[in-house]
């Protein structure tokens, strides 16, 4: 019944087809080296961070998970965008290159279904990687006798996944523009450098040279999803942005309790907009 509908009106996406493609994507991920490389890299580094940071953070009866959490956030800032961008960039361009996409679309499957199936499958794989990594890090923290607010730990994990998914959408957008997987990966890595390092360094340099007003630093949080992730995570585990000096206090004074969900909205926009653009673009590429 459903497959008939999808043949009759290929414009209307069929959910079970999307689900099937997503399932295939997850299976492919599990069989790919990329997935395991990222899973081991993230889980390994997160566990290492928890294992190294925690014993150092117990002194004379004082514990401090804040530092462990800050290290985890810094780690996620580097690894997670790279993970999402490369997976996304490889997806469409890679399948285009090896003909898998053409084979897939020779079936009664619309491009919309193929796109969303691929996207959801990869998003789910990223969830497995991110939550697995945080889960292992959390267990190691507990095993070492560390305590932490479970609520904020989960929130940071979810924010990390949102960051991964937003980068996945951006990676897929890049992928729709590239003819070859290697080109897509190259652009993705440059994008990652921009978000994780060069953007901030540029703002730091500009600020030193021209003394930017305090509020303008906050713009980086809107323009850079990695910054939005960092601010949202800091808000989640310390409840304030005192850590960030005058600019952080400016943000808290200006937006107060709204800051948390505003950053969440910014991240949501970074999840939705590039993905929609990628979908729109994917439906209009001439030759696959």
């Amino acid at each position: 019944m459903t497959s008939v509908a999808s043949i009759d009106s290929p414009e209307r996406p069929d959910l079970s087809t999307i689900g099937t493609i997503a399932g295939k994507e997850i299976r492919d991920a599990i069989h790919s080296r990329w997935f395991w490389l990222w899973t081991f890299a993230f889980a390994g580094l997160a566990s290492f961070t928890a294992a190294v940071a925690l014993p150092g953070s117990q002194v004379a009866g004082f514990g401090n998970f804040g530092r462990t959490a800050a290290s985890l956030v810094a780690l996620a800032q580097i690894i997670v965008p790279l993970m999402g961008l490369t997976l996304g960039a490889y997806s469409i361009a890679g399948q285009k290159e090896n003909g898998a996409l053409r084979f897939l679309l020779s079936h009664p499957i619309s491009r919309t279904e193929a796109f969303w199936g691929t996207y959801l499958g990869l998003a789910a794989s990223l969830a497995a990687t991110v939550f697995g990594g945080f889960g292992i890090a959390g267990i190691i923290t507990v095993a070492q006798g560390g305590g932490v607010n479970a609520d904020s730990f989960i929130r940071i994990a979810i924010l990390s996944w949102l960051l991964a998914v937003s980068m996945l959408g951006l990676g897929m957008l890049i992928s729709t523009f590239a003819d070859r997987a290697s080109a897509a990966l190259g652009i993705a890595i440059f994008t990652w450098l921009g978000f994780a390092f060069i953007g901030d360094l540029g703002v730091i340099g500009t600020s030193v040279a021209t003394s930017l007003p305090t509020w303008s630093l906050l713009l980086t949080a809107v323009l850079n999803p990695v910054e939005a992730f960092r601010l949202a995570s800091l808000t989640a585990f310390s409840g304030s942005l005192d850590v960030l000096g005058p600019a952080g206090r400016y943000a808290v004074d200006t937006f107060g309790d709204n800051l948390g969900w505003m950053l969440f909205l910014v991240m949501g926009a970074w999840v939705v907009v590039p993905t929609i653009l990628a979908w729109w673009r994917f439906n209009r590429i001439g030759d696959l």
């Binding site: 497959s3 099937t20 479970a150 390092f197 005192d242 960030l244 000096g245």
Partner: protein, 461 residues
């Protein structure tokens, strides 16, 4: 002493009072009881509610049993003491007025040698206010506050020109400040002060001893100004945060010794402004712990003549910082060949004498930038900030002049006895959360393989 006879007289005088308290619901007027008592007598308050707004104008002792309540009815000061040698103990003082102008208090004292101990203060503006009450003792009281905006609260304990007093073992929560003005040789010991503005605030009070207090979650743990010959030992200053957020701040102080204190998780552990201030005076900072603060110790650049030895600096985002720019020099970072322990010391100790063979320097490029441009603290702990420090380490041409240099850094952490634990979350919740996340991750990975056979056929149909 005439105490015995006083008790006898009182026993007769009170024969009526306890009966009255059980017989009638309306509260008893404390002033009447005081007026009826002979000087030097002991008034034993039975459980019940007593009307406050009373003045104690002769030396006597008020001691409660079963927590009698003295109720100010929400106006004025609950008990005013105008005679020396008064003792108030084991009572609940409740509901003063709320006027900061009139300084409405739980107990207000205008005479020397009073003792205020083991009382509970609830819903009071100022808790205990000594004005010109030298040689008094305030011990083991629990002082609450009015639930109003912090600037509209009064001080939990305030001493004004009451030298030689002892403030000991009190628990003060949610007030504005605990303040000492013109109060020399005061001893402040083993108090717990939290959720206020200034945990301790000293002005023009020389020769103070501040020992074993726990000052946590205030805007500022302790701030001391214009005083000299002060000993600050074995206190805990933790989680004092906010725009000021000092664990301990010293301004224009002379001849002070800080030892065995724990500065933990504050915005700034220790802040020094023009201290020591006068020629020939010195500051000694010995065997303290600075851990997990945003800035371990922060200085105005002109601060000189402080000696640091045997301190432990652990994982402060910035171990030592200078507010604004300027040359910082003239402080000793080791004394008699013994420096401090620094968690980020990357040197070595080849001869095994416990002292690093190379100097410890604070010369992070990023933190030097944030000292100069405070806005840049916005990028604390980003990969970009780490990249800046890494670059400075690899290319010495980028490395700034060191802020400080400890030429005898300790390679092992000095032993520190645990004093107090401020651990927040529980391991159990985290364990459950972690297991759930792992299970979720595994479920995502395993879900499609379960569906493989049923779905594959249809896709390729």
């Amino acid at each position: 002493m005439h105490r015995l006879s006083a008790v006898l007289i009182l026993a007769m005088a009170f024969a009526l009072v306890p009966n009255a308290s059980t017989a009638q619901v309306a509260s008893i007027d404390l002033q009447t009881i005081i007026d009826d008592a002979a000087p030097g007598s002991i008034i034993d308050l039975a459980p019940g509610t007593y009307t406050g707004g009373a003045t104690i104008n002769k030396s006597l002792t008020i001691t409660g049993h079963g927590w009698p309540v003295i109720d100010g009815g929400g106006s004025g000061t609950v008990i005013e003491v105008s005679a020396p040698d008064v003792t108030i103990e084991n009572v609940v003082i409740r509901a003063s007025g709320a006027s900061l102008d009139r300084e409405d208090s739980g107990i207000s004292v205008l005479a020397p040698r009073v003792t205020i101990r083991n009382n509970r203060f609830e819903d009071v503006l100022f808790g205990i206010f000594l004005r010109t009450a030298p040689d008094s003792l305030i011990s083991n009281n629990i002082v609450g506050a009015k639930d109003v905006f912090i600037a509209n609260r009064g001080d939990g304990i305030r001493l004004w020109e009451s030298p030689g007093s002892i403030v000991e073992g009190n628990n003060i929560e949610g007030g504005r400040d605990t303040v000492f003005w013109f109060t020399d040789r005061v001893v402040v010991r083993n108090n717990e002060i939290s959720d206020g503005r200034y945990g301790l605030h000293f002005m023009y009070s020389d020769g103070a001893t501040i020992e074993g207090n726990i000052l946590s979650s205030n805007s500022v743990g302790a701030f001391m100004m214009y005083s000299r010959d002060v000993t600050i030992a074995n206190n805990v200053m933790a989680e004092n945060s906010g725009p000021s957020g000092y664990g301990l701040g010293l301004k224009d102080m002379d001849n002070f010794t800080l030892s065995g204190n724990r500065f933990v998780s504050n915005r700034v552990g220790l802040y020094l402004d023009n201290s020591p201030s006068s020629a020939g005076s010195e500051g000694w900072i010995l065997e303290n712990l600075f851990a997990y603060n945003q800035i371990g110790a922060s200085f105005l650049p002109a601060v000189k003549h402080n000696s640091f030895s045997g301190n432990t600096f652990i994982d402060n985002v910035e171990q030592v910082g200078i507010t604004s720019s300027g040359r910082f020099s003239g402080n000793a970072w080791s004394v008699d060949g013994r420096g401090n322990y620094w968690s980020d010391f990357a040197g070595y100790d080849a001869d095994g004498d416990g002292i690093g063979d190379v100097s410890y320097r604070v010369d992070d490029l990023y933190n030097t930038l944030t000292d100069k441009y405070p806005d840049l603290a916005f990028f604390n702990e980003t990969p970009a900030s780490m990249a800046i420090d890494l670059a400075a380490q690899m290319f010495p041409v980028l490395r700034p002049e060191p802020i400080i240099e400890d030429s005898h850094p300790l390679v092992t952490r000095p032993e520190l006895a645990p004093v107090h634990s401020l651990n927040g979350g529980s391991g159990f919740g985290l364990l459950i959360a972690s297991l759930l996340m792992l299970a979720g991750g595994a479920a995502v990975a395993l879900l499609p393989s379960r569906r493989r056979h049923s779905s594959k056929g249809r896709t390729l149909a």
